[in-house]
Symmetry: C2
Subunit: 323 residues, 2 copies
């Protein structure tokens, strides 16, 4: 059975202001030795999947960026959403397009904007997930071994092992409180939901028809009339047969400057400091930091951010209030 | 007797990086409602002195800036130093030029780059200093009532009152240690040396011939061969007859971003904060500050500074190490 992938590259956000913007969201920022997360995600999948079977789901406004950043991508494999309706309509539209082109195939759906340090470990886990999706009627998701009691992610509660490395999913758990997160970590059978799904086209269609019949009728023509809803809510939480392959592959959602500062450790020749430690700088001109530690200084033509790295989560609210 | 003034506007420095530079030093920065300290100093003197008797001592490279910022200044009143030799040769050359033009006049010599909040109080004190210089053979200096035990300024130790508001100077005291500064403040007869001097041309010449005979021969032709030395060292500390008029007129040497942040309190529409207080920003684009208080963020095309305002004094060393 053909193995395909859909990279979700339509997102926009405020958490990496002033570098990210609606015109240039996180997945396109070339922060990793000159590569973007989209480029790294694409290159990673190329190690397992033929380029003609890797699709990009994105917004029309990002088409030119995708073409520019992914020279190996066939132009026809850019699938654009007619409107912003969250992940469920976007994924459904893409899945049906892939089904129309390829027949029954097994498809991985992955975010464009996550970082994975151990690519070989990830590809082994992804391979196992493809295998299980090929040989069962399960929707398969990849669970990320938690490294700490994170309150910013959703969790997957795992049940019994149903095949080698494959575990039956008990339930999706929302972003927890601090106490709940500690409980999850201690319990051992909770993993982070990284939003990576693997399923056959036919299994996906049947599951969607059962869980969200209206969504299963999505076309470009009726797209704007679809409910704006995530794939977790619309499908995964309602599906009776979900399986998880779990693993540890140096994953980061790159969801804050604090996260990025841990991924990019190289010294910055533009930085000059006194009485300062753990300073993360992105700037094209000389920067002096005096008397401040654990800070990020991010300069761009659009704005300037000075952030206590221990308070990254407060940035989004500030940016949303800007005129 | 004619009253004249020489504004010393040749200085360069690193303490206000990245706004100040050798090409655009502190006295020319338009930080005060669009006015520079040079402009404010000039406008203040215009309240007491005719424009044809106000001179600017500066470096040739700053001539154009002086012309641009001071439209009332006669072009002939820009007196440039042929080389950088600190304040003593520069002041001597200017004084002799003023003497050649005006004969025996009484001249105030003042830095271009200090801030004075209470201009009327300052002009009253300056007027008393002019009077005393006119009616005696004293070199006169203005002493600034100290507001705290500052270790960054030199002090004047005062003796007996010799005329109304005029006090005999005992000695110049170097920048003190913390303990000494506390002692000075407690003693009550120590004031800050703001580098403002008032003297007759003839009294200045005689004092210089006695204290620094070689300097008293300065001309444009031999200027480069002069010792690089401050007027305090070359003349004032050696002169037997120095008098002081002291006062409190809201003076600041504007010697650090911490000092400027106290002078410019207006809110900045470009600033957006979360969990932050006492943030001083100069920037032409949006700035977000998250989780940091008592900081200055200064953006310019030349560089970017992020500074704990309580550690302003560390900036100079950082800037000097820049390539």
């Amino acid at each position: 059975m053909k193995r395909a992938a859909i990279i979700l590259a339509g997102g926009a956000g405020t958490r990496l202001w002033p570098l990210s913007s609606d015109d240039n969201p996180k997945q396109f920022l070339r922060l990793f030795d000159g590569q973007s997360l989209l480029q790294k995600t694409y290159a990673r999948l190329l190690r397992s999947i033929a380029p003609e079977l890797i699709y990009i789901s994105t917004n029309e406004r990002y088409r030119a960026k995708c073409v520019e950043q992914l020279p190996l991508l066939p132009k026809d494999n850019i699938l654009t959403e007619p409107a912003r309706r969250n992940t469920a309509p976007a994924i459904a539209l893409c899945m049906f397009e892939v089904e129309a082109r390829e027949g029954d195939a097994v498809v991985a759906v992955l975010p464009a904007d996550h970082f994975i340090a151990d690519e070989s470990a990830f590809l082994r886990i992804l391979g196992r997930a493809y295998q299980h999706a090929e040989s069962s009627d399960d929707l398969v998701t990849i669970g990320i071994d938690p490294t700490h009691a994170e309150t910013g992610f959703g969790y997957l509660e795992l049940g019994e092992e149903i095949a080698q490395q494959v575990i039956r999913l008990k339930r999706f758990a929302e972003k927890p409180s601090r106490e709940k997160a500690e409980e999850f970590l201690a319990a051992g059978n909770f993993v982070w939901n990284g939003g990576i799904f693997i399923w056959r086209t036919s299994v996906f269609r049947a599951a969607l028809e059962s869980a969200a019949p209206r969504l299963a009728t999505v076309t470009r023509a009726n797209y704007e009339s679809m409910e704006s809803i995530s794939i977790d809510y619309a499908l995964m939480e309602k599906a009776p047969r979900v399986a998880t392959v779990r693993g540890n592959f140096g994953w980061s959602d790159v969801g804050s400057w604090a996260a990025i500062s841990k991924l990019i450790a190289k010294p910055n020749a533009n930085l000059h400091t006194a009485d300062a430690a753990n300073v993360f700088v992105i700037a094209e001109k000389p920067v002096a930091v005096v008397g401040l530690s654990d800070v990020a200084v991010i300069d761009s033509p659009d704005g300037l951010l000075v952030l206590d790295l221990r308070k990254s989560e407060l940035l989004s609210a500030v940016v949303k209030k800007m005129p």
